[in-house]
Symmetry: C3
């Protein structure tokens, strides 16, 4: 999955397609982000302003320019780990009738915390029948 | 599930009953909150003061009255999304002998972030035998 | 599992061994922390400086010496609950070919929030075949 830039990127459609192709209609879906500078979040899928507020909020509570000991990969390195720790590495979502039981206003987001675009791997696992 | 007001509402008993009625005694329980302005938390079930401190803490780190772009539904709208992002949309808890493996002092809480009471849906999923 | 002191303690090896001994090679692993003053985190396993920054960050955003109502067990009591709420009580990780699908730089950590060392129980659950 390619994260084009820092911020929230919706992946609900890709995940929905993957479930459909799996042939499993009832079970438990797990998403696992294989990185410590990107993370997962279920959030508001209707208002782009809410996502911009979310991005700004995490930039504020885990800011670049804090005095971090660890900055091997630049000023956006340690804030990325902090923002990951505050959000989620794994998500579990029940699946019924071939669909995730998401609420009407919920979407699944890959939250990229680094400035530079990179390829991110999210492991998907579905157990059921 | 009805959240009577903003704050932490214990749902451990309802979940325990649901497991008992499911007839499954060993497996994995998933709770999934179908909203982006309410969330889930496992916390201290003994001291009401600890819960009040928790509620005040989240009111302080994701305050109303911040300058948010998104305020379609009032000043408690965006803080609700932020507090959800900082806590949990899904929880997974192993079940043994028909009971969740909660520690002695752990309870499961629905964390309502909006001022107005509303009906909240939490999907429960239990896989096992 | 013994947490020798406050801070992040890597448990990846113990969990890997437990999976190997379980005889299950494909499935879903759940870790559940049976405490409300210790928690779980997947984080950077290469740079000790990143872990020190993480520990300092949580000491700063959920500080001792805040004016908490709940302090039955001392000044590190309520901050421990807050740091737990901001991180994770449960983690789910897919297992393939007998190994967790962790990324290259990911380790699993028990995050002890109390000053005094104590014995911590983490329930492990693996469903699969």
């Amino acid at each position: 999955m390619r994260a084009p830039a820092r911020g929230l990127h919706e992946i609900t459609c890709e995940v929905t397609d993957w479930i459909r192709n799996s042939g499993t209609s009832t079970g438990l879906l797990t998403l696992f982000c294989r990185h410590t500078s990107a993370s997962l979040l279920v959030q508001e899928n209707a208002a782009p302003a809410a996502r911009r507020d979310l991005e700004r909020y995490f930039e504020r509570i885990a800011p670049e320019g804090g005095s971090y000991e660890h900055d091997d990969e630049g000023p956006d390195d340690m804030p990325a780990h902090l923002r990951s720790a505050l959000t989620h590495t794994s998500l579990t979502i029940p699946v019924e009738d071939g669909r995730m039981v998401l609420g009407t206003w919920q979407g699944i987001y890959l939250f990229e915390h680094r400035r530079k675009p990179s390829v991110r791997e999210i492991a998907l696992h579905l157990i059921g029948e």
